[in-house]
Subunit: 343 residues, 2 copies
């Protein structure tokens, strides 16, 4: 019996290169993992018109986790691969906790003046299965002056409460034990009110976690003026999408931004992927930074209960990044080799 | 006959102090303006339970413009004053161009390392009458496990096209003539598709304006990593709310962030207000920075066709800010006096 069964969706562009390094590191820290590769993304779409064949989705469901590289190519119309594959997995596999840690690592530089490594250390818990991402909308009278287009944000007590509880739980296990709810309660009064009430209700179960509320516009500003203030943030799907990219930017860009789309109960496989895209401009050259993909593998190991292994991978990536010489060219495979050797 | 009839809604907290300076400067640069004050905001709400009495709204409609200070107080439930007053004015007065310039002025410091005054100079044209701000939503089965809450984003061809045309028009009159559309077409496919098609259609009328498209998450990141790249941005109501606060943050905070909620046809009065809030913590002490309020007055003058006067006010504010001594205490009235003396 294998220690874990991982589906690999390397995807487009640099996806193949960076997932190869993530696998290398997993194998070094946890021998015996069984992999199955799935060729999904722009190539499959252009060849067959399919995005996520049902048989593939069924096979994916049988794995312990999915390691994803990057999906997307300018040649595919917007939304096709995003809605058809990435969001399909998040929704069908009930990956309601979209986990995005942001840390300013030693050896990396924040674009913010005077902010030093170690000072920024937060986790955004983004809701992953509801909100504006559900795809509830439509167009009427297309291409006439009477045209209207709608998008509906759907929020359930069930969906909101469970992700808030997960965030409280994570906050409780961290040193600062602080949780910030981000929404836009002064404008989105219906959904905002649901989020606020659910937050207050769950907060009562975690008396040792201090809490705070911020509007998304204010939080976006603080993310620049004072990102040090954040510990754990919980927010809805769209706000989380935006906030985590600002968090990535202030911690030096998406080079180190890992993410997990997690079904905490493990009823379905969770997906782990770097936040960066397929970067077609540098694909195939062996120069993509695999750090975010390897850190995503660490989140995967953590999710599978391999805490010690996850910790070793994270530390090895941190050490590798800290040891880089400014200006020296980066080789994807060498980074993977060094991290694999260190774990 | 007066040169202009301006309704003053000083509002809450520091609103009174900063609008007083804006008036002082308007009077210095354009004598003969007639003002009418309206006491709206938290005080009126607590006294009478009213937010925007119909008679007041009718009187406001008879003015050339509205000079607004700040609305809001922690003692009022979220949404009451925002939806009932600020958004009421934007919607009922068809203020579909929400105008937010962001500039890194001499004498101000960006939190971004190495970014120098003059390097950031953009205008965000935010749609002001549609999208998620329309208030179309509701709650079912409140406070039960079956609860759901919805928010609907409504986008019309009419509403989208007119704000895009306004943005192209502004871009064409600037030096770089560059316009960026920001949306989330890969997820919000219905609304995103409408925005994209309307943008492409209007672009054909402005062949000398170069264009670009970015997803809101990517734009939020670039706003930190490379805000210099932006000239004019056009985007929807919610994305504009978030982006302009990031833009304010990277240009040194909301101290200099002015805004106008504009009905370009002048069928209804437009509202001009600083982006900052009522800041109850420093209210009444005479230490609030009136720069953003005075710059908003400059946008007001510009809107009324007083281009020379608007230019003089903007320059005087810029000079005053550049002449400040770091660390010296700021007195609200003195800033107003200096700017008024200089125009
Ligand atoms: C590609 C896109 C669908 C996705 C999202 O919006 O969630 C991405 O931006 C992300 O953050 O994972
Ligand atoms: C106060 C609030 C309703 C408002 C908005 O969301 O538009 C504010 O944030 C702004 O940007 O003017």
């Amino acid at each position: 019996m294998s220690v874990a069964r991982i589906a690999v969706v390397a995807g487009d562009g640099i996806g193949t290169e960076v997932t190869a390094q993530a696998r290398k590191v997993i194998d070094a820290v946890l021998p015996g993992v069984e992999y199955q590769e799935y060729d999904l993304g722009a190539r499959l779409y252009h060849r067959t018109g399919e995005v996520l064949p049902q048989s593939v989705q069924q096979e994916l469901a049988g794995h312990d986790a999915i390691l994803l590289g990057a999906i997307g190519d300018p040649s595919v119309p917007p939304g096709v691969l995003e809605r058809g594959l990435l969001l399909r997995l998040r929704f069908d596999f009930d990956q309601y906790v979209n986990l995005r840690p942001s840390k300013l690592w030693p050896g990396t530089t924040s674009p913010l003046a005077g902010v030093k490594p170690g000072e920024i250390d937060m986790v955004v818990v983004r809701e992953g299965t509801e909100g504006l991402y559900v795809g509830a909308g439509g167009v009427l009278h297309k291409d006439t002056p009477a045209e209207i287009a709608t998008e509906e944000s759907l929020n359930t007590r069930h969906g909101v409460e469970r992700v808030i509880r997960d965030a409280f739980d994570r906050a409780q296990r961290r040193e600062r034990r602080h949780l910030t709810l981000v929404h836009k309660t002064n404008v989105l009064t219906h959904a905002g009110n649901l989020w606020s009430r659910a937050f207050a209700a769950v907060a009562a179960e975690f008396p040792d976690v201090t809490t705070e509320y911020q509007h998304i516009d204010a939080a976006s500003m603080f993310m620049v003026s004072n990102p040090q203030r954040y510990d754990v943030i919980v927010t809805d799907n769209l706000f989380g999408d935006i906030l985590t990219d600002i968090a990535a930017a202030v911690t030096g860009g998406i080079g180190m931004a890992a993410s997990g789309s997690v079904n905490p109960e493990r009823r379905f496989p969770s997906t782990f992927e770097p936040v960066h895209g397929s970067a077609p401009d540098i694909a195939g050259q062996g120069v993509a930074d695999p750090a975010a993909a390897i850190l995503s593998a660490a989140l995967l190991l953590e999710h599978l209960g391999r805490h010690a292994e996850a910790g070793r991978v994270t530390e090895a990536v941190a050490a590798e990044v800290a040891s880089r010489t400014a200006g020296a060219p980066l080789r994807t495979a060498e980074v993977g080799d060094r991290v694999a050797a260190a774990v």
